[in-house]
Symmetry: C2
Subunit: 340 residues, 2 copies
């Protein structure tokens, strides 16, 4: 049976997802019995709708013409209109870049999809940060899956490990290097570069954004802490519940102290218990060589969960480019449908 997918967003991650779906289409069919068909792509300016099964393969071709000039492009068409026209329900693949303070456009897209009985696999964070509890409650009441591995450190499987691999255990806390950009800059600071030089280099390599404050002031890590904590520990955190410190505070003295004691400075996103309650923070901390995250330099990421019954479980590395994020989204889509 063909399973329809609708993609929102057609930037780097969205395009990588289309290419990956084309590449893995046959594999999904033979390994999992899942025949995915991308039936529509929705952008701000309108929507492309496939005329026939498998037409999305054309979108995956390199140097293809823009979506807007293809047959099947409907200017101004919204996700809701696309959803209403779909003959069968499937999953929304949400790859827009959404605002983490308003949640839009993701927030509207997720509610629209869930309202009409579509599962969700999301790669961006905005709507989930702003309104997770409502989205989760809506998905549960309709027995729909709401997955967002791609939004919580790309191919590093933070969410699966927390919710599947540690099922039944209580999460006592976690600490993670969840933003590649900040870890890259910290690694370069430890190698002697100035903050400005390290940032400039990261921007030149496409690792840091031209407006880098979301990453270097800790907000990207904070958003991921919120998503992982809410999904894994049942908290109800929003951005105001996290004490956030970025990497601008790192002094040469702190770097020298860490070096002298054999430690490495990392920007950690942390969940911990204090006075019987969960607390979350983002903070630069020295990490000793015995720690599972010590080894992670450059854009590498990782997370360490502490549990009551399974001890400590660390998961590290994983590709963090658009293809890695697309692979995380495809993983979610497969896991949504494989057992149904």
């Amino acid at each position: 049976m063909v399973i329809p997918l609708i993609l929102t967003g057609f930037g780097n991650v969205g395009k990588a997802f289309v290419r990956l779906l084309a590449e893995k289409h046959e594999d999904c069919r033979s390994r999992y019995g899942l025949d995915f068909d991308l039936v529509a792509v929705v952008r701000k300016t309108g929507a492309w709708m496939a005329n026939k099964e498998g037409e999305f393969f054309n979108l995956a071709a390199p140097a293809a013409e823009p979506l807007e000039s293809r047959p099947g492009w409907f200017p101004g068409m919204s996700l809701s209109e696309v959803l209403v026209r779909a003959r069968r329900r499937g999953a929304l693949v949400e790859c827009t870049s959404s605002n983490w303070q308003t949640g839009e456009p993701q927030l509207e897209f997720l509610h629209a999809a869930l309202n009409l009985g579509w599962h969700v696999a999301a790669a961006s964070k905005g709507g989930l940060i702003v309104d997770f509890k409502n989205l989760q409650a809506k998905a549960r009441s309709k027995k729909l899956s709401l997955k967002f591995s791609g939004a919580t450190a790309a191919a590093l499987p933070t969410l699966d490990v927390a919710t599947v691999s540690l099922a039944g255990a209580k999460i006592l806390g976690f600490e993670g290097i969840l933003t590649g950009t900040t870890n890259y800059i910290l690694s370069r600071l430890e190698q002697g570069l100035s903050f400005e030089a390290a940032l400039k280099e990261a921007q030149a390599k496409g690792i840091a954004e031209m407006d880098p404050s979301m990453d270097i002031d800790g907000w990207d890590t904070a958003c991921k802490v919120i998503l992982i904590a809410n999904a894994a520990a049942g908290t109800d955190f929003t951005i105001n519940d996290v004490n956030v410190e970025g990497i601008r505070v790192v002094t040469s003295g702190a770097l020298a102290d860490a070096r002298a004691s054999g430690n490495s400075l990392k920007l950690l996103g942390r969940l911990f218990e204090e006075g019987g309650r969960y607390r979350a923070e983002v903070k630069v901390m020295p990490v000793p060589p015995s720690h599972p995250l010590f080894r992670l330099t450059g854009t590498s990421k990782g997370i360490v969960f502490r549990t009551d019954t399974m001890g400590t479980v660390a998961v590290t590395d994983g590709k963090s480019d658009p293809r890695g994020t697309a692979a995380a989204v495809l993983k979610d889509v497969i896991n949504i449908f494989r057992d149904r």
Copy 2:
């Protein structure tokens, strides 16, 4: 709705599972909506059957009387007889210690359970090593789950990560420290102990068995490599397909070489591609400090997967005592039923 569980084996892991189930019973109900009831425990000598719901809580009490002298004990009763008497189907929790060459008693138990429509969560390896393809085919044809996290490195989530977190990716290979005993002895050899002294110490601490050859000759690791490869990479390996080397081969020269180059010797269970085919081996290899497994000393375990789309993903640590294994089994049981 009450979900019946039947336990086979009542050794360290089986007992730990009963205690954990009692401890987590309410939590499973509130977090996952799953109301587990252990309705029977089967041993070689017979079976205990609960008379009423929740009676298993009595088995979890410390210093309880032996199973064989309790009301509800039926000498000579077999698993098949217990399964036939069950009023509703659930999951078999297989915690015997099974022979990895004959597969028994696990092999018989798994087939009996699957034949009668019961899901399986296994903590031992024998039957799975000997007859995985048939067991998997039987489970699939009946839409039953066949899980064995507890058999593949206890609380270290090797199988979940391979099959759930890396869904859709091709496993290009993996390498893991999968046996705590051998890693402990290697750590002590690196600290200057003789092989005999290190082994004796591990035995005194209960880390190594009195007959340690299963572990130190690499067979335990080989069995885990087979299970993980067959489940994650679709191979059809049995024990004859693995080149197995244990840690008795480690010379003082190899230890000195590793130390001089800053590496650490680890017994690795490996899957890799060669000539377009998967190969498996168990081998002592030097691991450099940049490697995710370098840090793992003592009884710590870990595995590194290499994939086509998600890069490298490493998962390390996890409790490896009977309680950790029991937690892995409970995790499987939860994941079997949470989405049904």
